[in-house]
């Protein structure tokens, strides 16, 4: 994250009561532990690389701003994922489009015509991400948390619903995702 110099910034409002060094260390540990998961999450909400980067910046900023107020009411993982998913939800609601329609999904290049360096697993990953972006937001949230290997109880804690509700959403999400992936060549 660019070392200590990049993080010697004006700290959030409550930082007067929280050691700035501790806050910075805590933030760096969060980015190190959950950064890749956050990057994957942004890919479920934005297909365009620059918009993905903007969304990631918004999420990281939100984590930085809310960290001083975190008092351990839930696990750190739940806290980070809650902030990230809520920020993504705001992004969707402001943009006004909750899902990309399957018709808008980017064409997956024909592997016979793509450059030799394009790995098959990248194509499969892009197909999966595009299909996830076509899901309604509530299914998207459930399936992305499941793909991050969260237990149903953890997913319920992030979403603020019962485990039963999580199971139903996951079932529906998987059915919808399977259907979208089967439609594509």
């Amino acid at each position: 994250m660019g070392g200590d110099a990049a993080l010697h910034i004006a700290a959030p409002e409550a930082a007067g009561f929280v050691d700035r060094r501790t806050l910075t260390d805590q933030y760096e540990r969060i980015v190190s532990a959950y950064g890749p998961a956050l990057v994957r999450l942004t890919a479920c909400y934005e297909s365009r690389p620059h918009a993905r980067e903007d969304l990631l910046q918004e999420i990281l900023l939100a984590i930085w701003k809310t960290l001083p107020g975190f008092r351990g009411e839930c696990s750190q993982k739940t806290f980070v994922l809650r902030v990230a998913h809520n920020r993504c939800l705001t992004h969707v609601w402001r943009r006004g489009k909750s899902a990309e329609s399957p018709a808008e999904l980017p064409e997956v290049p024909d592997p016979r015509k793509s450059p030799e360096t394009m790995a098959i697993d990248n194509l499969r990953r892009e197909s999966l991400l595009a299909a996830i972006r076509a899901l309604p937001v509530n299914y998207r949230q459930a399936i992305t948390l499941a793909l991050e290997d969260l237990a149903p109880a953890e997913i319920a804690a992030v979403l603020g619903v019962t485990e039963n509700n999580v199971a139903v959403r996951l079932n529906r999400a998987r059915k919808a995702l399977r259907s979208i992936l089967e439609e594509r060549p």
């Binding site: 994250m1 942004t42 107020g69 939800l89």
Partner: protein, 194 residues
């Protein structure tokens, strides 16, 4: 394919690493935070400046014309300005804190914030109507008692009506945005119903 194998298969694709992923994490947080801070400070300065100009003008007017009607007028301006400022502060308070709530609680908070804003807009319209009646009556009375010539009276009425129209348009725009946000929030809740 069994359900667990299917999920495991998707998980493999999901966790596949892209070279651009690590680069996305190497962002300069300092620059981002400073940019956000500047944007928020500029917006706040703009609002404070407008408020200060209104307060200063009404105070100066009442001071240079120490008659009861101008003092009352200044009092109305000050009350309206503080009301608007209080609403703006209350509406934005806790914006960041809300993000760490669970998704369901965040949706609920966002919904309540929308409803609160819509209620404030309705209240604002009534308040504007009352102000318009007071100002129009005041000016008309001054014109009728020959304290205000017809020319300045018409000009003052035109300015009053224009300002009221601008405020109404602004209220209408905020109301449309509020209703749009409420519809989208309802849509998220409906999608999540098992």
């Amino acid at each position: 394919m069994s359900m667990d194998l299917e999920l495991a298969d998707w998980r493999t694709d999901w966790l596949a690493h892209e070279t651009s992923d690590a680069a996305m994490l190497r962002l300069d947080l300092r620059r981002l935070v400073e940019r956000k801070r500047r944007e928020m400070a500029l917006a706040l300065c703009g609002q404070l400046l407008l408020g200060a100009v209104l307060l200063a003008f009404s105070a100066w007017f009442a001071f240079t014309r120490p008659a009861m009607e101008w003092i009352l007028w200044a009092a109305v301006m000050w009350a309206a300005t503080f009301f608007a400022a209080g609403f703006a502060i209350r509406n934005t308070a806790g914006t960041w804190k809300a993000l760490q709530e669970s998704n369901a609680a965040f949706l609920d908070l966002s919904r309540r914030r929308c409803l609160r804003e819509l209620r404030a807009i309705r209240l604002g319209r009534w308040f504007l109507a009352v102000l318009l009646i007071i100002v129009a009556s005041w000016l008309s009375w001054d014109c009728a008692t020959h304290r205000l010539p017809v020319g300045p009276y018409l000009f003052a009425m035109a300015v009053t009506i224009l300002l009221a129209a601008v405020y109404l348009a602004w209220f209408a725009c905020r109301e449309r945005r509020g209703l749009r946000d409420l519809r989208r929030l309802d849509q998220f809740e409906e999608e999540g119903e098992p």
